[in-house]
């Protein structure tokens, strides 16, 4: 398979990071944006996540079997941290991007009132295209918990989004 794991095995950490950047950066920023709603913070989160994984890649005693999966976990974890920090600072949910279509703006509003774990599960499932078992890996939760988050989130969203 053509992925960062192959590159890691063949080319070493610098090339792995570069391959990871090419494959994941844009998607990661967009994923982070759907979770935290701010472009600058999304880039900050993802860039710092790349720094984290760079350090791990450079560590000769550490083997990262799946850099892509590891990166996704770091990004989601950092988004969690940011959301919690906002909560502690009692910041308001982010404003939606300008000129969103009405239905997307409604989704934005619903998304940002969902509990954090539910929001993460929904974004990873629908934007990321992940299945519950993958989301479980990324968020380090049991798959059953993820499915429970999804069920509850979808129940809420169905109520709020369906006319």
């Amino acid at each position: 398979m053509r992925n960062a794991e192959d590159v890691a095995a063949r080319k070493g950490p610098a090339a792995t990071l570069e391959a990871l950047y090419r494959a994941e950066y844009v998607g990661m920023v967009r994923l982070a944006f759907t979770l935290i709603g701010n472009t600058a913070e999304s880039e900050e989160v993802v860039q710092e996540s790349f720094v984290d994984i760079s350090i791990r890649l450079d560590d000769p005693d550490t083997t990262i079997r799946e850099p892509g999966a590891y990166l996704r976990s770091i990004v989601v974890g950092r988004c969690h941290s940011l959301i919690r920090r906002r909560r502690v600072m009692q910041q308001h949910p982010p404003e939606p991007p300008a000129d969103l279509p009405a239905s997307a703006e409604l989704l934005w509003d619903v998304l940002h009132v969902l509990p954090e774990h539910q929001r993460v599960a929904v974004v990873l499932k629908y934007y990321g295209g992940y299945r519950a078992s993958e989301i479980a890996r990324i968020t380090e939760q049991p798959a059953a918990t993820v499915r429970s988050h999804l069920r509850r989130a979808l129940a809420t969203m169905r109520k709020e989004l369906t006319p």
């Binding site: 398979m1 053509r2 992925n3 192959d6 095995a9 063949r10 080319k11 610098a14 570069e18 391959a19 950047y21 090419r22 494959a23 950066y25 844009v26 920023v29 967009r30 994923l31 944006f33 472009t39 999304s42 880039e43 993802v46 860039q47 790349f50 720094v51 350090i55 005693d61 079997r65 799946e66 999966a69 974890g77 969690h80 941290s81 940011l82 920090r85 969103l100 997307a104 409604l106 998304l111 974004v123 629908y126 934007y127 990321g128 295209g129 299945r131 519950a132 078992s133 993958e134 479980a136 380090e140 049991p142 059953a144 918990t145 499915r147 429970s148 069920r151 969203m157 169905r158 989004l161």
Partner: protein, 484 residues
Amino acid sequence: MSRLDEQIDRDLGVIAERVTPSPDAWAEIQQRIADRQPEQDTEIIMLTENTLTRRRWPLVAAAAAVAALAIGAIALVNRDDGTEQPADVPEPTPTIDLAPEPEAETADVEFGSGATPADLPFAGRGDGSSVDPGRYTTDLLGVDVAFDVPRDLYVVDARPGTVVLLGLLQGELGVDEYTLDNGVFLSMSRVAGWSTPEESLSPNNVGSIEPYDIDSWIDSNGLVVSLDEATEVDGREARVVQVRVSQDSESAPGCETAWEPCVYTDAIAADLNGVRDWALGANRSDRRYLVTIEGSEPLLIVAGGGDGSVWFDEFEDELMADIELGPDAPPLGYTAPASIIGARAPDSTETGDAPGDDTAGETEQAATDDDAGASTVDDATALLDGWVDAWNSGDEAAVADLFVPDAVLITPDGRERVGQAAGDYMASFVPMFTRLSRTSDGVDAGSGAYSFDVEWKSEFQTDERVLVITEVEGQLRVMDEQLP
């Protein structure tokens, strides 16, 4: 996909597309790396001109459609969706020689050819390793299993207690459409208990149905049985059932459209330290072989594919006919703590003494069981409390020393680290998680294992975990278990 699914999918895409990442991102990352390591020369990797089309991120290729069948059994790849890269997003021409795709091989394997089987490559749990057609053996299930791989498949999970192979019978990674015929899987695991539907939704990995009582599992999940008969697998007593979901079942979220309705269902895999879960659909079947292992948990072999697919018609019967099993033996290693498997303390007396067998693996297992319980809950508590103190004083060396020279750390991803590597790994978290607390008394989990609830706190987050501590013949094993 329901209208709600479509709406969420579409509008999330609209939202995400509003973001245009900085064209200087790569340089900024390099600068951040340099800032973190001021004492080192940092190689600045130059990227070249952008000519790549945008890769839709992340697109789960056809293998992933199959992979929803089994936890962690997912192959993730990027697919070029043919849309143009936004002008200000840096995705340059690759300068890296990527590994060539494995050449497709035909499926004209001679089954049961008597060739010496190769060891199944260890893949851990992840995107998978390609396996060429041939005969393989695995010792990850307690009972050695040799089997034929009929064509190129992917090993996506191969850890103590579980082996999962996935394959596409048509196409290759990157195909767009999943069909009922193109996805197959073969999973093997040791079952310690089956979950009811309610238990499958529980975050606590509970499986209250006894492992040989597959009827209760079928009934509780309302499954439709199209085959149920006694059989043999390599001379062992076995039972095979072919099950699917009823068309009038309520579908669980996240189903493949072609499978709807579908349900998720779990079994507890004792030495996997968690659950093995499957999605079962109305339009394809699982054929489940429950093989009796004397004095221990059954071996479960699940072959899944579309009804009428070439998998069932041509491969599956022959594969099962040619499976060879080693002597009866208990699952490997880990025994889940009672608190995780629904307060059913594992029976440590049912292990490791299959008559007439003297394999190294069994001898080792028997020794493990005989010596289990050498330490007490007080010993384990004192050990943990001392380590907690070291952690909270920021003493990374002392944190690491717990594992030196040969203690084993098992992390939630199933990886094992030993000795200094384990110590260094844990010590690396000391600066981030500055506070560690033991939040429960030790729970006797049987077989000399004690589980403790702990809490790691960083500035921004709290991680609640379970540490399972076992000492066998003086060797410490610490399992770090994630809780929701």
